[in-house]
Amino acid sequence: MKRVMFWVAIVIILLVFLLPIAWVYVTSLKSPADIFRPEKLAFAPTFYNYKYIATVRPSLMEFRNALIVSVLSTALVMAVSLPAAYSFARFNTGGGHLLFITISTRMFPGVVAAVPFFFLYRNLGLLDTHLGLILLYLYFNMSFATFLLYGFFREIPEELERSAMVDGYGRLAIFRKIIFPLIKPGAAITTVFCLIFAWNEFFFAFLFTRRLARTVAVGLAVFWGSIEIQWGPMAALMALAILPTLAAAWFMQRFIIRGLTFGAVKG
C-alpha cells in the first residue's frame, strides 16, 4: 500500500512538472484552427507552424545569435571565474568580503546595470551586437559561476595540495595533476549552467538587441504583436528553443547522481 502511494505521488509530481513542457510540443503541431481547441487531443498533426518559422518569419538567425553569445560568454566566464574561485577557496582572498561583493552583483536589479550600459553602448555602437551582449552575460553569469565553483573547490582537501608540495611539485604541476581532474565535474556543471542561463536570458537581450543580434528569447516575444498572439508559430519556436536545454538536462543527470552539494554540507 505504501509503495502504491509512493508511486502515485511520483506520477503526480512528474505530471505537474512535465505536462506544460509536453504541451509546448503538442501545441506546436496543431493547425491554426486547432490552437483554440486545446482539449482536442485527437487532432491531425501538421508542420504548418514549423514551416511558418522557417519561411514566413525566418528564425535561424536568432538561433545562431543565441549560440554565439552563450558559447563565447560562457568561455569568458569560466576563464575569469575558475582562477578567482580557486583563490577565494584556497587563500580566502579578501577575507570573504570580496566574495560577497562578487555574489552581490547578482542581486542588482537588472535596471541598475541596464540604464547606464544602454547609454554607454549607444555611444560605443555596441547596441544590437554580439560583443555587447557577450560582455553583459559575462557580468551576469560571473558571480553565480564563481559562487558555484567556490563550493566545488572547497571540497578538495587542502592536504592533497600540501603533500604534493612536500613531494616537490610546483604550483603549475599541482594545478594540472591534482586540482584540474578533481574540479572537472564541478566545472562541467557550472559551464552547463552558464550556457543555459545565457541561452534563456531575456531581459538584457530584449533591451540591448533589436534585429541583428536578436536571440531566440527575444524572437519568442515578437510573436506577441499589437493585434494578436500567434500561439502556433510561437509554440514551434519554443519547441526548438527548448531542445538544447533538454539535451543539457540529460547531460547533467549524470552529475546529479554524484550529488551537487555546493560544498556547503559535508558529512
Partner: protein
C-alpha cells in the same frame, strides 16, 4: 649575458608571483577588472544621474535630492516594493516546503531513481520567458486547457490572467512551478550527503520520525536552506520574465523591476529611474547581507 639576466629576471618574477601572497591576487585579478567595469561604472553613473533631471531631450540638469524625494513619495513605487516582497515571501515559503517534501520523497532507492530525479529538474532549465508564455496560453480564460479541465470538472472558469485579484497569484504559480525544482535539487543533494550513522543512531534510540526530521535533518540542512533563500531572493527581486509573458505589468501585478523598467525605458526618466534603482539596490543589499551573515554563521555551526 643579457639574455641570462632576462631569463633570471623572468624566473624571479614567476617565483614572486608563485608565492602565496601574490598568486592569490593574481588569480582574482581578471575578476576584479570585470567587476570594477561592470559594477562600479553603473553605480557611479546612477549615483550621478540620480541627482539630475534627465529625460533625454535636454542635457542632465542638477536638481539635488529632488529625485529621491519624488521616489519616496511615489505610491506606485511603494506598492511595487510591497508586491515584490509579498511574492518573495510566498514563493520562497511554498518552494521550500514543496522542495523539502519532494526531496524527502526522492531520497530513497527506487526503480529508475536517476531518470525520475532528472525529470523533476526540467522546469528549472527551460527559458522562463518561454514557459510563462506557455502558461499564459494554458491559463487563457476561454481556450486555456486549465479552464477547460475546470469547466469539465464542473468548477467553472477562472480569470487567471485578467482578474486583478488573481493575476499576481498566477504569476507566483508560474514562478513556483519553475523554481521548486531548484529547492529539490539542492535539498536532495544535501539529504544524500547527510551522515548515515547519525540518522541510524537516532532510529536505534527510538526517536520519532518528526523528531529526527526537525532536530537532525533540518538543522544539518540549515546552510543549504539559507543558500536557497539567498539565491531565490536575488532572483525574485528581479521578477521580469513571467510578467512579460503574461500581464506585462498590468492587472495589479507590477513588480519592482517592471516599474523601474517602465520609468527608465518607456518614459526615459533616467534621473528618477536611477534614484529608484539605487534605493532598491540598497534595500536588496541590506537584505542579502543579513542572509549572508546567517549563512556564514550556519556554516560555522555545521563544521
Amino acid at each position: 649575458m643579457r639574455e641570462r639576466v632576462s631569463v633570471e629576471a623572468r624566473r624571479t618574477f614567476w617565483r614572486i608571483l608563485a608565492a602565496d601572497r601574490y598568486i592569490r591576487w593574481f588569480l582574482v585579478l581578471p575578476l576584479l577588472v570585470v567587476l570594477s567595469c561592470f559594477m562600479f561604472y553603473p553605480l557611479f553613473y546612477s549615483l550621478y544621474m540620480s541627482f539630475h533631471e534627465y529625460v533625454l531631450r535636454a542635457p542632465p540638469l542638477f536638481i539635488g535630492p529632488e529625485n529621491y524625494r519624488m521616489v519616496l513619495h511615489d505610491r506606485e513605487f511603494w506598492q511595487a516594493i510591497g508586491r515584490t516582497f509579498y511574492v518573495l515571501a510566498v514563493c520562497i515559503a511554498v518552494e521550500l516546503s514543496l522542495g523539502m517534501g519532494i526531496a524527502l520523497l526522492l531520497n530513497r532507492e527506487f526503480k529508475g531513481q536517476n531518470t525520475i530525479r532528472g525529470l523533476c529538474l526540467l522546469p528549472l532549465l527551460i527559458s522562463p520567458l518561454a514557459m510563462s508564455l506557455m502558461w499564459n496560453y494554458m491559463l487563457h480564460v476561454q481556450f486555456g486547457i486549465v479552464n477547460q479541465v475546470l469547466v469539465w470538472l464542473g468548477l467553472g472558469a477562472v480569470e487567471w490572467i485578467s482578474n486583478p485579484k488573481i493575476a499576481l497569484y498566477s504569476i507566483m504559480l508560474i514562478s513556483i512551478w519553475q523554481w521548486t525544482p531548484f529547492s529539490i535539487f539542492v535539498l536532495l543533494a544535501g539529504l544524500r550527503g547527510l551522515p548515515k550513522d547519525a540518522l541510524e543512531a537516532a532510529r536505534v534510540d527510538g526517536a520519532s520520525r518528526w523528531f529526527t526530521f526537525r532536530k537532525l535533518i533540518l538543522s544539518m540542512l540549515t546552510p543549504l536552506i539559507i543558500i536557497i533563500i539567498l539565491l531565490r531572493t536575488m532572483w525574485l527581486i528581479r521578477l521580469f520574465d513571467p510578467l512579460y509573458g503574461t500581464t506585462r505589468g498590468g492587472v495589479g501585478t507590477e513588480s519592482l523591476d517592471w516599474f523601474m523598467y517602465r520609468i527608465s525605458f518607456v518614459f526615459f526618466d533616467v534621473g528618477k529611474g536611477s534614484a529608484m534603482a539605487l534605493f532598491s539596490l540598497y534595500v536588496t543589499i541590506v537584505l542579502c547581507a543579513i542572509l549572508y551573515r546567517q549563512l556564514i554563521k550556519a556554516l560555522g555551526a555545521a563544521k
